[in-house]
Amino acid sequence: MQFGLQAYLFVGAVLFVCGLVCMATKRNGIGVLMGVELVLNGANLNFVAFSRYTSLGLDAQIFSLFVIVLAAAEAAVALAIALNFYNNHLTIDVDRANKLKG
């Protein structure tokens, strides 16, 4: 069975939407981070698919590698924030983090 580009894009879109829903609904900070990872990976999947099926070539793959590295860095920073937030508030409920509210 041969899958075309659309199949990959479809999976990427599902991942992206899952990530969005996860970010939008989770109150747990770690959950939100996981949503972010899903969104990023959805995007990565698209890049790789475009690399395979269009003339974008290796550029797209390098892009996805960058995204992975950035995601790792982002995860490290975000986890550190989450730890600190927990230290201060004994919770990681993002709705409690409203100090910067206008």
């Binding site: 969005l20 970010m23 939008a24 609904t25 989770k26 109150r27 939100v32 949503g35 993002v94 709705d95 983090a97 409203n98 100090k99 910067l100 509210k101 206008g102």
Partner: protein, 808 residues
Amino acid sequence: MTGETLRNLLMTAWLLPLLGFAIEIFGGFWGSRKSRAAAWLAVACIGTGFICSATALVVWGNATHWAVLSHGDDHADAHAPAAHEGKQDSAPAQPQGAATDTARYLTASLAASSTEEAAAARPQTVFSGTIYRLASFGSLQLSIDYYIDSLTLVMFTMVTFIATCIHLFAIGYMSEELTEEYVDHHAHLRNGHHVHRPGRFYRFFAFLSLFCFSMLGLVIAGNIFQIFIFWELVGICSFLLIGFYTERKSASNAANKAFIMNRVGDFGFLIGLMVVWTYFGTFQFGETVDANGQVVQAGLFQMLPRDADGNVNRNPETGEVMIGSASSPNPGGNRGTIPYFLLVTAGLGVFAGCIGKSAQFPLQTWLPDAMEGPTPVSALVHSATMVAAGVYLVGRFYPLFVHEVLLTIAYVGCITLFVAATIAIVATDIKKVLAYSTISQLGYMMLGLGVFGWGAGLFHLVTHAFFKSLMFLCSGSVIYGCHHEQEMPKMGGLWRKMPITALTMLVGVIAIAGLAVPGLVGLSSAFAFSGFHSKDAVVATALAFVKANPAHYLLFIVPLITAGITAFYMFRLWFYTFAGTPRDAHVYEHCHETPLIMTGPLLVLSLLAAYCAWGGESGVLYRLITGDQPAWVHHGIAGSPESLTLPGHAAVAAVHHEAGLLALIAAFSGTFVAWLLYGSGRVNVEDIRRQLSGVHSFLANKWHFDDLYDAIFMRPMHVVGRFCAWFDKTIFDGILHASARITLVVSRWDRTFDEVVVDGLVNLVGNTTWSVGNAMKHLQTGRLRQYVMFIVAGVVALFAILLSTFPG
């Protein structure tokens, strides 16, 4: 070098008082007001100055082998002031005929070799040069020069000596100022109290020192511009000293009056200076020589060459006068001509300055008012310094005066001496009498100079300085002894209380009146005090002048009559004050003889007032003064029908006996009348005054000169001033106020515009930003998930827009 020695000595004498002033003026800061240190410093300065001046006179005399004295001189006496040195006996005889015939007025300069022929006939007597060059503008050199001849030296010695006496006297007279709180009984505050102020002893002596410095600077000055500077300095000093009791309205008014009246004369002086500068191109009296003794610039005194008769060289066609040095043909390239009327203008201009300074008619009214100053000041101002400056300048500037100017000088002097003498008859203030007598005597000096008696006028200047300073100090002694009572009607009989003052005053009175005991050989050997000799010289010159020019007979009649009046009012003063019975018991009781520091100078001055002119016109003093007189003065100037004949010495000598006898008769009759009216007590003076009340009030009002000037100058000035004030208040102030009001209206409107439009715009922007921000802040909920939803919605919206805009 004699010139340098003389210069250094006279400069020391000149500058020491300035040093004294610089120190004394800080007396109030550096010392106690009760200290006499300032006074002694001033005395030391001026006393050293006197020693230097006298030494300079000796040096000068030795360098010239006393040629001026050895002129058939057998009357030289050890009492004469120049005889401090006792040198005249050793004076070697000089070939005098040759010496007097040489052009004496030609300035032999510092580099003595410049005028060989003059030097051969007679040693150099005139020393001139530059001390310091201030500035040079093109060919105009402004410098501090010196010009030393016998007149300079005599003036220096006289001024420093009299000033020393006056300084000493002032130590006693001003001792009331030695206090922290001086009560001025003549100055009242608005509430009727007397003025209380700190004593100003030190300040008085500082001003005296400055005064001496200015006067000496004037005498040593070697150019006319320098004279002008010191002329003004003398004016300033007299202003400061006349207004010394500045809290008194009368004193400050008198100081202003003296200063302003002098400015009137100085205006003429400036015009004269301009003419001199424009046509002669130099201010210097003496020649300027370079290092080789070559004359590079002729002096003013060489620029107006006279022919053998003493007339100036006039171009026969145009009437213009040749300018140029006779001794050095055209050294400065400024040989030219000057229109005759401008030469007269220059002379009259300079003389106008002298009129102001020497209180001649018509500017004489400041001098009596100047009596508001302390009495030592009056003595200094009215004998040796301020008023002498005018006469001195006329004498100094003589080479540039032509006939018309001399005649003006003579008539001005003639009017002055008569007017002032008549006012002195009725004055009752002891100082006022002396003030008017000063004006009158200054008139004599001017008259003497004007009728070609160069020596006579200056001779009278020196003798007058001695006896007038003596009399002023005597009056100061009386005023001090009588506790500042100046009105003679309240005195009388004071000789019992103050014998020394009375006696010395009598010496002065006899001297000024010109009384004499005729000698066996004739009048020339008469036993007489100084005033007789000098006045005799003036009157004799006037007689010689009138004999040569009968049209001007008034120039002899008036001074002759005035000689009688002089004797009258001076003896009136003496009888009124010292003789008779006391008229005011209170004044008489509290009156006392003054201390030695005040009577000492009186005694010394009385000796000199009596004997300084010993020998008359063959005496030492006259010889010294006339040592460097302009040559043509000696010969006289023979006149043509249309011009004046000016008498020479021979003409004067011919009428000397006659004039002397007439003057003596006038003096004795004046004395006799004075004794009759005031001394004998046989005539009731009040009756006479009532009989002649019209004349008396005319004289007592000073010939209404003050009223006249009030009407001519003051009233119109007040009218003009009032008009100016009105103009200012209505027109100028109106314009100003209107513009101010317009500005106010405009600025009010401007303020409204600012507040409404500009501020409104700015506020609107601010308010809008504020409300927008307020509205937008609700978006910032702080809920993370909501933000994510916004992002999603935004992305979806973006995609929707993108896809709808670019389908496919």
